[in-house]
């Protein structure tokens, strides 16, 4: 681990709490999917927690993040409540999208999450557009586009990076490179798999970092966010990480032969949550007591979210049709 001293202790604790909250919440969601309690397709984030937490620890509430089909981690790291998220996964009226969005379409404008899109690369231009708005409004807010490696296959990704760099927009492009685009390994999708290097074609800084190292994600993003706030334009940060589970749902896809047990195990040894926890204990940023207490608090929060979601009402069926326009 690198550069821990540079990160304020409160920030380290905040990142750790966000990662643990994502991990434990998703483990619960995976069980609920297996029990057929949650029906809507969930693309789980387990294994990638350091990216969302490391990036969002640098952001203010008036900075916006745009998310993808794999959106739970971003929602939680940006400060979204677990009750609203769990209720949304249940399709309930008290969900963060009122039961109209489901797992792939989360929004919480009050925390700076104007929405996630299931269309691959779909929110990449939206983030640049929000950044354009911020600069027209003379605000120093930044926008972040989270996307997977599969988004780099889409044309709109190139269009957006070009325009964002051309106009020096305050937008950070965060690639969560988990090595697979649904079932396809990266090498079968991209002629040149060095995603960060593509930034050079747009005259934009691009770096490839260890996405399982929360410090590295935090520090790299911190510089990019500071530059963007100062009008120095966008940056591309490629975070190498791995989803422990399959593309969608609670299983690991090993049975389908899409990837090898050895590969999954090797990445599980690089567990970002465990890694940060070990380091913070070693550096006495947290104590074992603190860790246990935090875990209990998070579990209680998840239990409360679960109870809330179960008890919440379904949306009014009379509202199924209409409400298309404001």
């Amino acid at each position: 681990m690198t550069d821990t001293q540079a990160v304020p202790r409160a920030t380290l604790k905040k990142m750790y709490a966000a990662m643990l909250r994502i991990r434990r919440f998703e483990e619960k969601v995976a069980r609920l999917i297996s029990l057929n309690e949650i029906i809507c397709p969930c693309h789980l984030y387990i294994g990638q927690e350091a990216v969302a937490a490391g990036v969002c620890a640098n952001l203010r509430q008036d900075d916006w993040v745009f998310s993808t089909h794999r959106s739970h981690g971003h929602y939680i790291a940006k400060g979204g409540g677990l009750k609203g998220l769990m209720a949304e996964l249940y399709g309930k009226a008290d969900g963060c999208s009122g039961g109209y969005g489901g797992s792939m379409h989360l929004a919480a404008p009050e925390i700076g999450l104007p929405g996630s899109s299931a269309i691959v690369a779909g929110t990449v231009p939206l983030a640049a557009g929000a950044a354009l708005a911020f600069s027209l409004q003379k605000k120093d807010s930044v926008a972040v586009a989270f996307f997977g490696d599969g988004a780099v296959d889409e044309g709109v990704w190139y269009e957006t990076l070009n325009f964002a760099s051309l106009k020096k927009l305050p937008v950070i492009f965060i690639c969560e490179n988990n090595l697979y685009s649904t079932h396809m390994p990266l090498s079968a999708c991209l002629a040149d798999t060095a995603i960060a290097k593509k930034a050079a074609a747009f005259g934009m800084p691009g770096v490839c970092i260890d996405g399982n190292n929360a410090f590295e994600v935090y520090n790299t993003t911190q510089k990019a966010v500071a530059d963007a706030r100062r009008g120095k334009g966008p940056a591309l940060i490629e975070c190498l990480t791995y989803r422990w589970l399959g593309h969608v749902g609670p299983n690991d896809d090993l049975d389908k032969g899409l990837r090898g047990k050895k590969e999954v195990r090797a990445w599980m040894r690089k567990d970002p949550v465990n890694r940060l926890e070990t380091e913070l204990l070693k550096q006495r940023v947290i104590s074992p007591d603190y860790k246990d207490k935090l875990a209990r608090e998070i579990d209680a929060e998840i239990a409360a979210a679960y109870a809330f979601a179960q008890a919440a009402p379904y949306p009014d069926v009379k509202q199924a049709v209409g409400r298309v326009f404001k």
């Binding site: 916006w64 745009f66 969900g95 999208s97 009122g98 039961g99 109209y100 969005g101 379409h105 929004a107 404008p109 104007p114 929405g115 899109s117 269309i119 779909g122 929110t123 990449v124 231009p125 939206l126 983030a127 640049a128 557009g129 929000a130 950044a131 354009l132 708005a133 911020f134 027209l136 409004q137 926008a143 044309g155 709109v156 269009e159 957006t160 070009n162 325009f163 051309l166 106009k167 409400r323 298309v324 326009f325 404001k326």
Partner: protein, 328 residues
């Protein structure tokens, strides 16, 4: 006496006044600083408002449309121009999946106050990829409003209404209308979205027309008058929301219907309007309705082929004559 402007000048005035009136408004798209892309509709705006608010863009229709959606979410009121409507197919994902769905998909928490202005550029031997009138494509999608003004007055008023609306509005105009002149008030005014207008009264046959075809419908009505056939000409102006009431009221009076649209016949505007009349006013019909529209064929280049490809007043007159005969 009100002053007269061309259709293109009316659009330019709406843009200039809204840029001046509301700092949330900005103009973005290909050719907004070009001498030829968008006719005379944006002339001088960049000098007046600067390249921050009048943004000429690379040929990246999908990306730029997405950025306009994002800017709208973040509190702006972008006016996005696609100077050749054909290229809007590139923008479909951002319009259909994102702009149109955003309000509903997140339980009404957010809206996209975006005006997407697309220009139909047919004629002049431009052929299949520079001539398409895609209004039916946009009309099909829940979450988009669609307007097509046919007069300078409506061009200004509907564009202003579109910019002020809190939802994504597709504003489609037709270069064949750009030199048309008419009275245009100097002040900022709205032509309400979703309201058609009766351009000419008549008791015998209803002609529902859209955009440029409204001018052909009025020409046809003049010819029909000489033949003692009273045509009532409706200019629909908005395709979505659709002013169903104005259509039904007229058809109940005349008992005869023609829909004149510059798009393709199959799955087009005429198909929708005839269906609505069949659902709600069929018993009033004295003869089967007719659609005057494009054949299900891409646009040809050669002027002799163009001449028979695009429907004109003569086609509306022929349809009216046939209906009157059938209804005897």
């Amino acid at each position: 006496m009100m002053r007269t402007l061309s259709y293109a000048q009316a659009i330019r005035e709406a843009l200039e006044q809204m840029l001046r009136e509301d700092e949330k408004v900005f103009l973005i798209g290909q050719g907004v600083t070009s001498p030829w892309y968008v006719g005379a509709t944006t002339t001088g705006l960049v000098d007046r408002f600067g390249s921050e608010r009048v943004i000429d863009t690379p040929v990246s229709e999908s990306g730029i449309t997405g950025m306009a959606v994002g800017a709208a979410l973040a509190g702006m009121r972008p006016v996005l121009v696609h100077p050749r409507l054909d290229f809007m197919y590139y923008a479909m994902d951002q319009l259909a999946n994102h702009a149109a769905n955003w309000h509903y998909m997140f339980g009404g928490q957010l809206s996209v106050p975006l005006t997407v202005w697309g220009i139909i550029n047919r004629g002049g031997e431009q052929a299949a990829q520079h001539s398409q009138a895609l209004q039916a494509v946009f009309m099909h999608l829940p979450g988009l409003k669609v307007v097509m003004p046919s007069t300078p007055y409506d061009a200004k008023g509907l564009l202003i209404a579109a910019i002020k609306d809190d939802n994504p509005v597709v504003f489609i105009d037709d270069r064949w209308l750009y030199d048309l002149s008419g009275e245009v008030p100097e002040e900022i005014y709205n032509v309400p979205l979703g309201k058609g207008i009766v351009r000419k009264r008549g008791a015998d046959i209803t002609i529902v027309s859209i955009s440029y075809m409204a001018t052909e419908a009025l020409a046809a009505a003049a010819i029909l008058t000489k033949r003692h056939i009273g045509a009532e000409v409706i200019d629909l102006r908005s395709l979505k929301p659709l002013d169903e009431a104005i259509i039904l009221k007229s058809v109940k009076k005349t008992g005869r219907l023609i829909v004149a649209d510059g798009g393709w016949k199959t799955g087009g505007i005429g198909a929708e309007i005839v269906s609505r009349v069949a659902e709600k006013a069929m018993i009033y019909l004295k003869a089967p309705p007719r659609r005057v529209a494009l054949p299900d064929t891409p646009a040809p280049a050669s002027r002799v082929l163009e001449e028979c490809y695009y429907p004109k007043a003569r086609d509306i007159v022929a349809a009216a004559a046939a209906i009157m005969q059938e209804g005897q």
